[in-house]
Amino acid sequence: MAKKLHVTTEINGAETEFLARPDQTLLSALRDELHLFGTKEGCGSGDCGACSVEVDGRVVCSCTMLAAEAEGRRITTIEGVAQGGELHPLQRHFLKEAALQCGFCTPGLIVAARNLLDRNPDPTEQEIRFWLAGNLCRCTGYDKIVRAVQAAAAELRETAPAD
């Protein structure tokens, strides 16, 4: 068996070290080595978005990335979205709007939606639907998800510090 690689990276604000097989995906390392089980494996082929994480400010499917590539990168998973025990507005509005049923796609959707709102605080419905097209949900039919994102965006705009 190939020698494991030592990877040092920043995950959810904390410097993190782990060992990974050279062919291990980031998704597998997050779950199996670091026990961050919030990131889900859906298809394993980049189609469903359940394993979405942010790497250096861009959302990727962690199943299409090797763990070794994470060396020196900054990663945010769903575990890093709530701050100091406070749910992120997206998380609160997903609950309020009932934007989930089984919940399997929810972590990926929230990671992807948060990245959208960081870039664009006031997206149109079409922009939201396009941005989230790589996150499949087989329960909700998406309408409630779109509404939750819109509500969270509105709340974030109101509470954003004026510059």
């Binding site: 190939a2 050279p22 062919d23 861009r58 959302v59 590539e69 396009f130």
Partner: protein, 285 residues
């Protein structure tokens, strides 16, 4: 399997050239890592090219725009100069996958994965793009259409890899476009994809035209006869019909679940006309 992340082109070439068994460059991994996970490929060595500084940059000067082989789709479509000069190339890249895939996928990966249905490839071929290849024998620049050899195969020699995709300087009154046809509107593989680039003179007569068609043959095709049918014409209906006929004549597709060979051949002419219409409007704008 071994993983290496060299910081120079020379180191990458040395690694790729010396490897026993399959050695693969890794760009976005949206093909390669998925193929590894599904057991379709078992590389002996993966060489991540994203730590090579120059490969992460887009450089524009009098000789054109050079896009480093590690630059992802999101960065390309977000580049104002590329979007305004080569919108057809940018839209071909943009068709690939979702936002997550765009955060990783590269044009050179799309080219070297060598799928007959690769979306960005007709866009690059129509625009007259080249690639710069580095290898044990040094560097060479070749037209994009010379890279694919067949499904999953390229003409690159062992140890060679693409370091940049190069878009030429854009002549005046030139427009490019890419249109693909899929059963679904998003996240699907092309039944046919057509890239067109044409140049007009001041009177509106076509002086140069390149037509590239994907998903209708083992490799993306540069259909010279279709381009030739447009040159010297005002790109009127008669010229469009003649060029569409040349596109259909060049098709050598297979039957698959997305469309029969006969269907693919027939609609390739239709999709060509749509792409040519957009390219023409852009050349006139």
């Amino acid at each position: 399997m071994r993983y290496a992340a060299p910081e120079t082109v020379d180191e990458a070439v040395a690694l790729l050239a010396s490897a026993e068994g399959g050695a693969y460059p890794l760009a976005g991994g949206t093909d390669l890592v998925v193929q590894m996970s599904s057991g379709m490929r078992a590389p002996a060595l993966v060489v991540d090219i994203k730590r090579i500084g120059d490969l992460g940059r887009i450089v524009s000067d009098a000789s054109g725009i050079r896009i480093g082989a590690a630059v992802c789709g999101a960065e390309i479509t977000g580049n104002a100069e590329i979007a305004s000069k080569w919108p057809g190339f940018a839209e071909a890249m943009d068709y690939i996958g979702s936002m997550q895939i765009q955060s990783r996928a590269t044009p050179a990966g799309n080219l070297c994965n060598a799928s007959p249905a690769a979306d960005c490839v007709p866009g690059m071929v129509a625009a007259g793009a080249t690639v710069t290849v580095a290898g044990p024998g040094g560097r060479r620049e070749i037209p994009v259409e010379e890279v694919p050899a067949g499904p999953g195969r390229t003409t690159l020699a062992p140890g060679e890899f693409v370091i940049s995709v190069n878009l030429p300087p854009k002549p005046a009154r030139t427009g490019d476009a890419y249109v693909r046809f899929t059963p679904r509107t998003e996240m699907d593989i092309a039944v046919v994809g057509v890239g067109v680039c044409l140049t007009l003179d001041e009177g509106g007569t076509c002086t140069a035209a390149r037509v590239a068609v994907g998903a209708v043959a083992p490799t993306v095709l540069l259909v010279r006869e279709a381009g030739a049918a447009l040159v010297g014409t005002p790109v009127d209906d008669a010229a469009m019909d003649a060029a569409a006929e040349a596109v259909r004549a060049a098709c050598r597709p297979i039957d698959d679940k997305r469309g029969s060979a006969a269907y693919r051949t027939r609609i390739s002419g239709t999709i060509f006309k749509r792409a040519a219409g957009v390219a023409l409007a852009r050349a006139r704008a």
